[in-house]
Structures are given as structure tokens and as C-alpha cells.
């Protein structure tokens, strides 16, 4: 590990954030510097997803991937977003604080404590990751070899991409890893664990920033901190695989959709579209996650479907158009076998029940996820009874669909044994998306219950 590699990684991730924040500025405007700071995490994820989506298409059509290509795409993307912002007459950010908002002393104290505890934890994760050797099987068996292939050979090398394990897995993670190798100046598979640390920092900032104005800090920070420290999440955060990225892109996308259902602000829909498109190019289940999120949004916006559904169709179109070229590429390379062995009605009812039971056992296993799913379940119930019923129903539907999707995977892929053993069945990894969404949904749901209680008593 060298200082040069660290600086390179920091610069690359800073460039993702600048690209994404500029996109946000063009999409919604950022009136004050406090908005820039609050939405910097979301901007980072948007920049990362945009970079991955664009480079997936470029690699499919044969554009070589190199250090200068990475720099030019980031600079060009930022310039294009800035030009769009200028054309749309977005004002430059001015001043820091928001004169229309007053934050109480206790709320500031809770926010400061939350940021301090999150910061302390992230600092510990940084130290644990900075000298980490590459251990995870999937990482060295195919994720990192694909990244090395892009780095060394400049593209989707046919010899490697068609013969490594899981050739149909989408390429955003190898693209981001290859960009990290360029930024570090070598295929330093030790320091590059910090690429995943930057992702965790960005995701934490994105979730906190998106929720900050919608929930009081005492409801925001406890679930957010808890999900970072539950055993299965904490142990997997810095593993250089696609699970954390697909979960984060999906969950932040769903959060934006939930907020869009409340206030109808178009920029949320556009940002959610980019994040869900990114999820669809990160892992195969990312496409299913995106479909579940959009299905829930279609259902929740039924009452104002004339205005909402054309916009949602545009988002669905963006996700599909982004996903298609990669699927066409691997089809033309003679790679198949993505479909499960029992996609239709071939599986038995017993296996279906066993799969459901396994998903249920895994979700409510407190040794993996602590109390996060239980608290979320109570929050969903409370919000359906006393809070924002539309958002609660939306989140419940999305959580339910994703949960059932996990059971379907076990049911449909007959070669998977009914077990939570991670080397044999991906259900634990898959359930991470449900748990992260549950943790993020909890403050939003509880805040709606709290507000309805306050209004009723006043």
C-alpha cells in the first residue's frame, strides 16, 4: 500500500462525488452549500452509478478502458451536467445555513452524536480494510479477474469474460475495480479494499442525507447505526464483491421513490432511475430489485396514475435500456444458463414451503441481523395503522416482493440445497437487501407515526 495509491483512490471517489453532485445540481438545483453537504452522499452514489452505467455501454460497443478514458469520462460527464444546470438556469449555491429552518439544540446534539458514532465506526472500518488481503472466494474467482482483465486488456476480454465463473454477472463492479486500479497505478488488491470503504461512507452519507429533512434525528440515527453494526452487515461491508453495491443502489433508489410518493418532486424519480439502472447492472438480482421497487411504486401511485405512471414508465424504460446491451453482449458470446432449473411449475410444493421457511428463518435470525427486521416489521404495522399508509404500504410491498424473491431463488434453482450455509445457498447474502431496506424504512415509518400522534394530541 502506498500513499500514491491512497491519494489516487481518494481522487477517484472525489470525482464520482463531484460528477454526482453536479448532476443533482442540474436535476434539482442546490440553493445553499448545506444542501450540497447534505446530498453529497447521494451525489457520490449517483456519480458512481452513472460512471458504471456509461462504461458498461462503452465496453459493450468496444471502447477501450484506460486511465485517460476514466479521467475524460468523469470530466466530460461533469462538464455535461454543469452545462445542463446552466441551461436550466440553476442558481449557484449561496450561503451555508437555511434561514427558513430552525433546528433545536437537542436535535443538533443527537445529530452530532450520530455523526460522531458513525465517523468513529467508519474510521475503524478504514483501519481494518487498509491492509486487508484478498480472501473471499467469489472475489478472486471472478470479480477481481474480470477487473484485472478490463485493466490489462482494456475491455470485455472474450477469453476471460466468457470462461470465468458466473459470466452473466453484470460488469459494474469490475469496471469500478478497474477504475480503482488505474487510480492507484497498479492492481493493488490490498489497498483496493478501500474502494469499498469509500462506498460504505458514501452510502451512509446518502441515507442520512436523504432522510435528514424527513425524520427527526433521534429516529434517524439509531436504525442507521444499528444496521452498520449488525454481524452479517459489518462483516461483509468491505468484501470486494457486488452485494453491498447492489443493496445500496437499490435501497437508496427505493428511499427516493418513497419520498417521491410523498412530495412528487421529479428529481427524486430521475435519481432513483439512475440508481436502479445501476443496480440492474451490478448483479442479476439487481434487475429484480428494480422491478420490485417500480411495481410497488406503480401500485402506490394508482390514485394519481395519469400524472405518475408515464413518469414511472420512463424510469422503467431507463432501467431496461441500460440493462439491455450487456444482456445482448453475453448472449452473442454464446453465454447462457442464467435461467433457473425450475422457473416454471416444475418445483414441488414441499420445496416451495421449505424455501419460504428458510427465507423466514434467515430474515429473523438475530445472530445475523440483530433486531433490525423485527423493529421494521413493527414500524410497518404501526405506520399502516397510524402513520403514512401509502408510504407504509409501498415499503411493505417492496419488502415483501424482495423477500419472496429470495424464497423463489431457493425454490427455482433446484441445485441449491435448503440451507443457510453461505457457500451452498446465497439466501443470507440476498437477505442483506431486505434488511438494509428494513433499516432505512424504519425511521421514515416511525416518523410518520410520531407526527400523526403529535398532530392528534395537539
Amino acid at each position: 500500500m502506498t500513499v500514491r495509491a491512497l491519494i489516487g483512490l481518494a481522487a477517484l471517489n472525489g470525482a464520482y462525488a463531484v460528477l454526482g453532485v453536479t448532476l443533482l445540481w442540474a436535476l434539482r438545483g442546490l440553493p445553499r452549500w448545506a444542501d450540497v453537504l447534505r446530498l453529497a452522499g447521494l451525489g457520490y452514489l449517483l456519480g458512481l452509478a452513472t460512471f458504471g452505467i456509461v462504461w458498461t455501454q462503452l465496453l459493450v460497443v468496444g471502447v477501450p478502458f484506460g486511465g485517460w478514458g476514466v479521467v475524460l469520462s468523469l470530466v466530460g460527464g461533469t462538464a455535461a451536467a454543469a452545462a445542463a444546470g446552466i441551461v436550466l438556469h440553476r442558481p449557484r449555491p449561496r450561503g451555508f445555513g437555511d434561514p427558513d429552518r430552525h433546528t433545536s439544540g437537542p436535535a443538533l446534539l443527537v445529530t452530532a452524536c450520530g455523526i460522531a458514532l458513525a465517523g468513529l465506526l467508519l474510521e475503524a472500518f478504514f483501519r481494518s480494510g487498509r491492509l486487508q488481503s484478498l480472501q473471499a472466494y467469489d472475489a478472486w474467482a471472478f470479480w477481481v479477474p474480470k477487473a484485472k482483465a478490463i485493466y490489462y486488456f482494456g475491455g470485455l476480454d472474450h477469453g476471460l469474460f466468457t470462461t470465468l465463473a458466473n459470466p452473466t454477472y453484470p460488469p459494474i463492479v469490475p469496471i469500478l475495480d478497474a477504475a480503482a486500479f488505474h487510480a492507484m497505478g497498479s492492481t493493488d488488491v490490498i489497498t483496493f479494499h478501500l474502494q469499498y470503504w469509500f462506498l460504505v461512507v458514501g452510502a451512509t452519507a446518502a441515507l442520512a442525507g436523504c432522510l435528514y429533512r424527513h425524520v427527526p434525528p433521534w429516529l434517524l440515527w439509531p436504525p442507521l447505526l444499528l444496521v452498520l453494526v449488525v454481524p452479517r452487515v459489518a462483516s461483509g461491508l468491505l468484501i470486494p464483491q457486488a452485494d453491498v453495491l447492489v443493496d445500496v443502489l437499490f435501497v437508496v433508489g427505493v428511499l427516493l421513490l418513497a419520498l417521491w410518493l410523498r412530495d412528487g418532486r421529479g428529481w427524486r424519480l430521475a435519481a432513483a432511475g439512475v440508481l436502479l439502472a445501476g443496480a440492474g447492472l451490478t448483479k442479476r438480482e439487481g434487475l429484480f430489485f428494480a422491478a420490485a421497487a417500480l411495481a410497488g411504486t406503480f401500485a402506490a401511485s394508482f390514485a394519481r396514475r395519469r400524472a405518475a405512471w408515464p413518469r414511472l414508465l420512463a424510469v422503467a424504460g431507463l432501467v431496461a435500456v441500460a440493462a439491455l446491451p450487456w444482456r445482448l453482449w453475453y448472449s452473442t458470446q454464446g453465454i447462457g444458463g442464467e435461467a433457473p432449473s425450475d422457473a416454471g411449475a416444475g418445483g414441488s410444493v414441499d420445496r416451495m414451503l421449505d424455501a419460504l421457511r428458510l427465507s423466514f428463518d434467515v430474515l429473523f435470525d438475530t445472530t445475523l441481523w440483530s433486531v433490525v427486521p423485527v423493529v421494521a416489521l413493527v414500524a410497518v404495522g404501526a405506520a399502516l395503522a397510524w402513520g403514512d399508509r401509502r408510504v407504509a404500504a409501498f415499503l411493505a410491498v417492496v419488502l415483501g416482493l424482495v423477500f419472496l424473491g429470495g424464497a423463489w431463488v431457493t425454490f427455482a434453482f433446484r441445485e441449491l440445497p435448503i440451507t443457510a450455509e453461505e457457500a451452498l445457498n446465497p439466501i443470507v447474502r440476498y437477505t442483506g437487501a431486505v434488511v438494509l431496506l428494513a433499516a432505512v424504512a424504519t425511521p421514515l415509518l416511525l416518523a410518520s407515526v410520531w407526527r400523526s400522534g403529535s398532530e392528534a394530541s395537539s
Partner: protein, 136 residues
């Protein structure tokens, strides 16, 4: 209801946060205690009993050439993963060198050297592991 959820979450947080923080510190200490080769080889330490094979393969096989992996019967010194995981690990570890069954360079894991007439052993380790080079 809201207070109950927050209370349960806070109790869980108070229990989990110190453990996770301590685990991260322990991992940082354990990683710092490794030497450079251990870190670089990573999972390969579980695949190969002797790191020297990996170090020598990177040193001997030029970056623009390819290599083959020939495995014979498991030898007493091998780990449980050597026979099954050696090829995919070498494929990852030795990139940009490509895997090619007809390559000039052969990573021999207890292989039948008679199957490669004219190949010379450029490095030999223990437990039947060697690196062979065929005449071009």
C-alpha cells in the same frame, strides 16, 4: 409504539456497537501483523502450502506469456483446496498472464512430467510442485 421501537433499537445498538468496533480493531491488528507476501497472496495461503510457487511463477513467467496448470494426484503436503482451487487461483493471481492448455509454461502440481517431453524444470518446490518450461 415509536418509543418502544427506538428503545429496542438503542439497546441492540449499545450491545452491538462496541463488539463491531472491537472486531474492526482486531482485524486491523491481524492484518498489520501479516508480512507483505502474506497480504499479497491472500487466499492463496489456503490453496498452496508453499507461497514460493506463487512468487516464483510471477518472477519467471513473463507478463505477456501464457501458462498451463497440470495437476496430478494430491500429495501429502497439499491443503484441502490445492487440487480443486489451484487453477482458478493461479488464473487470478498471475494475470495478465493468460491460462492456456498449450502454453510454454506449465505450473506442475504433482503432474506426470512424462506428458511434457522436452520440458525443463525451471523451479522445483516441495510436494511435487514445480514450474516447467517447454522448448518454444
Amino acid at each position: 409504539m415509536v418509543a418502544f421501537c427506538v428503545a429496542v433499537t438503542l439497546v441492540a445498538l449499545v450491545v452491538r456497537y462496541p463488539d463491531t468496533f472491537a472486531d474492526a480493531n482486531e482485524t486491523a491488528r491481524a492484518n498489520a501483523a501479516l508480512d507483505l507476501v502474506d497480504r499479497d497472496v491472500g487466499a492463496g495461503n489456503s490453496v498452496f502450502a508453499d507461497q514460493q510457487l506463487l512468487v516464483q511463477a510471477r518472477g519467471l513467467i513473463p507478463r505477456d506469456e501464457s501458462f498451463a496448470v497440470a495437476a496430478g494426484d494430491p500429495q501429502p503436503g497439499w491443503t484441502d483446496l490445492t487440487a480443486g482451487s489451484a487453477e482458478p487461483f493461479l488464473r487470478y493471481y498471475l494475470l495478465p498472464r493468460r491460462l492456456d492448455p498449450n502454453a510454454r509454461w506449465i505450473v506442475c502440481l504433482g503432474c506426470d512430467r512424462g506428458a511434457y517431453p522436452g520440458a525443463e524444470a525451471v523451479w522445483e518446490g516441495e510436494d511435487g510442485i514445480s514450474i516447467l518450461r517447454r522448448a518454444s
